[in-house]
């Protein structure tokens, strides 16, 4: 095999093309072919080299010599002299180069410094290497805890940190653990809810795929604190890569004795396994998830009893979201007061937000709790795409609320948003520009809920069907004035009478749409 020894890079931009860069490129290819050098010397196109009005510009490597004003007639000479004999064609060489290698800084703020706690390793370490996780100090917190701390002390520390559930319900994680620890029973379970299905949310996937051991360490600590013997990770079936990487992570951790029998010689045994979902949004609801995990249809259970006393197979069970559990190793390593240094008094820590839709640079950030919607959209998301105006954002997923421009300066955390009858939910922020048809968006949301309603309770099963009928009518310009209020009335009944949050939460997108866009909806009548 011949190894390439020279590269000829021809600058292709509007001015060099005008000067005949393509013809020069072809001439080089032909010349090299004629001399049988095509395997040793490769000809490639490159961008502007920063020289203006210097005709065809090219650079020959490995020497990095830049030639300007090159014509097809010069090509044989460059090949003969430079490539074959190693002598530069001095009359064409550019000696004074403009400043090079100045990297245009990304305009977006996605690369802005972020306090990364749960995403500390995602996108940095190799997720398939347990060594790399351990090299960053991984499993250190777990080993210290299991060797040196009592379970009650761990729970106290988590309580002190003020960590609340990051799946959307925002219940105190330490309290939940405490309830399950105190619940009667020899067998207890930890379940990680990785059934991430809230539209617009992919924060958990970044942890599952990018740093699976952090989740396992969080589950290990939870298991020790609660006194559980088994942990289950319920992952949605669509997350193929997450399942692959976690399976490997569990195997690697077991091989090192970080999971399994008698961990760290402490007598504590804990086994973690994966359960794969099969496509049902309602299974994100914790009791429906338990049913599904037991091998049934994913219908929600009535509460109480709560899972902390009667969960999986009737045993005390803690169900935590992926992001919640990924906070645990960092909290235990650095302490509760360190964690409280981030975020607000009532909502300490960070939150992972997904910024998507009509923003310049869709993506994901981890920011302190309480960051404003304006900062998230304009600082991190790069503002509205194509210089358009902000219309609204659907915050918290499909079960969230549409927030208009008057909400841009509200702090994004669980407590502040509740004051405005909105929710942070999963942290999904779907941004819409001024040209967005709000009726079409609401129609899409309502169709989603009709499809995902599990059919268990009447208000949700029939309500979602009626809502879809009405919104389809309105979107088709066949609606009546009273249809608008009918949407609201039905969703109110569903909020008050549905069995689980799926049916209850539809009131939010509907009422917020009407709050901001009643006139736009009426204009469709």
């Amino acid at each position: 095999m011949n190894l390439v020894r020279n590269h000829i890079l021809i600058s292709i931009d509007s001015s060099t093309i005008m000067a005949g860069a393509r013809a020069v490129e072809r001439a080089f290819v032909d010349e090299l072919l004629n001399r049988g050098l095509q395997d040793e010397v490769s000809v490639l196109e490159t961008g502007s080299l920063g020289l203006i009005n210097r005709g065809v510009v090219l650079v020959v490597y490995p020497e990095g010599v830049i030639y300007a004003d090159v014509t097809t007639k010069d090509v044989p000479e460059i090949v003969e002299e430079h490539i074959l004999k190693g002598r530069f064609v001095e009359r064409l060489v550019v000696k004074e180069m403009p400043k090079q290698h100045v990297i245009k800084r990304e305009k977006t703020g996605l690369l802005k410094e972020q306090p990364r706690i749960v995403l500390r390793n995602s996108g940095i370490i190799n997720p398939e290497s347990i060594d790399e996780y351990i090299a960053t100090g991984g499993y250190e917190a777990a080993s210290k805890i299991i060797n040196e701390m009592k379970p009650e002390e761990v729970i106290e520390e988590v309580k002190r940190s003020g960590l609340t559930g990051r799946g959307g319900a925002a219940f105190s994680t330490g309290m939940k653990w405490d309830f399950a620890r105190r619940a009667k029973g020899d067998v207890k379970y930890i379940i990680c809810n990785a059934d991430e299905g809230e539209p617009g949310t992919f924060k958990d996937r970044l942890i599952l795929e990018g740093d699976p051991h952090k989740l396992l360490e969080g589950m290990l600590i939870a298991g020790y604190a609660v006194g559980a013997q088994y942990g289950y990770i319920y992952i949605r079936g669509e997350y193929v890569l997450s399942i692959e990487r976690l399976e490997k992570a569990i195997k690697d951790a077991e091989a090192l004795g970080l999971l399994g029998e008698n961990i760290f010689g402490s007598g504590f045994s804990y086994h973690v396994s994966i359960k794969k979902g099969a496509g049902a949004y309602v299974c994100g609801e914790e009791t429906a998830l338990i049913e599904s995990l037991e091998g049934k249809r994913g219908h929600p259970r009535s509460k109480p009893p709560y899972p902390v006393t009667e969960g999986l197979w009737g045993k005390p069970t803690v169900i935590n979201n992926v992001e919640t559990l990924a906070n645990i190793p960092e909290i235990m390593r650095n302490g509760a007061s360190w964690f409280r240094g981030y975020g607000t008094e009532k909502c300490p820590g960070t939150k992972v937000y997904t910024i998507i839709g009509h923003v310049a640079t869709p993506g994901l950030i981890e920011a302190e709790m309480g960051t404003t919607l304006r900062d998230i959209i304009f600082e991190y998301g790069g503002g509205i795409k194509n210089g358009k105006k902000f219309k609204c954002a659907l915050v918290g997923g499909a079960a969230g609320a549409f927030l208009g421009p008057d909400m841009l300066d509200v702090n994004m955390d669980f407590v502040s948003l509740r004051e405005y009858s909105a929710v942070l939910g999963s942290g999904a922020i779907l941004v819409m520009d001024e040209d967005t048809n709000i009726v079409e968006m609401l129609k899409n949301v309502l169709h989603f809920f009709r499809h995902e309603s599990c059919g268990h309770c009447v208000p949700c099963r029939l309500g979602t069907a009626q809502l879809v009928k009405i919104i389809d009518r309105v979107a088709d310009s066949k609606g009546k004035r009273e249809d608008i209020d009918k949407l609201l009335r039905i969703s109110e009944v569903m909020r008050d009478t549905s069995f689980c949050p799926l049916g209850q939460s539809l009131y939010l997108p509907i009422s917020s749409t009407l709050k901001y866009f009643r006139d736009e909806m009426l204009s469709m009548i």
């Binding site: 992919f202 099969a278 496509g279 091998g295 994913g298 998507i356 839709g357």
Partner: protein, 151 residues
């Protein structure tokens, strides 16, 4: 592979039912759960046929009727909708000459819609079998379908 060989990889415990159904469906050349698949699963787990059928029909990733070799699942959630999945759906229907839920005559493609796939940063997106594709345009969809036809 024989059905018996596949299910033996899992212990006969009811909480493995979704794993077993996934495995049986993946093994079925027509990408669905046939009556035989359901019966084998029911016998293995020692539950009635009707029970397995009721579970299989609850979850959208399982199909009880035959499907094509490639299952196209176009994301239809609000983020992808906002970024133009609607026109992609029209394009797919037209170029495959089928509706949602149908299979092409040559048995190559089945077109389905799916809830959020969790790749909203590269919306609009779709999955074909286990593979994810993002930043879709009609041209890109065309190229992907062509590649699938050849492979």
């Amino acid at each position: 592979m024989e059905r018996d060989e596949i299910i033996k990889k899992f212990s006969p415990s009811l909480d493995n039912i979704l794993f077993i159904l996934h495995a049986l469906q993946d093994n079925n050349p027509q990408n669905y759960l046939s009556k035989d698949d359901i019966r084998v699963c029911a016998e293995y787990l020692n539950v009635p046929y009707s029970y397995v059928h009721s579970v299989a029909s609850f979850y959208t990733m399982f199909s009880l009727k035959p499907r094509g070799r490639n299952i196209i699942r176009l994301c239809d959630s609000p983020p992808c909708h906002l970024m133009g999945s609607g026109s992609l759906l029209e394009y797919l229907k037209e170029s495959l000459n089928i509706n949602v839920g149908e299979t092409t005559e040559d048995g190559f493609f089945t077109l389905e819609l799916t809830s959020c796939l969790g790749v909203c940063g590269v919306a609009p997106a779709m999955m074909i079998n286990d593979e994810m594709f993002g930043n879709l345009t009609p041209e890109k969809v065309n190229a992907i379908l062509d590649m699938r036809r050849k492979s």
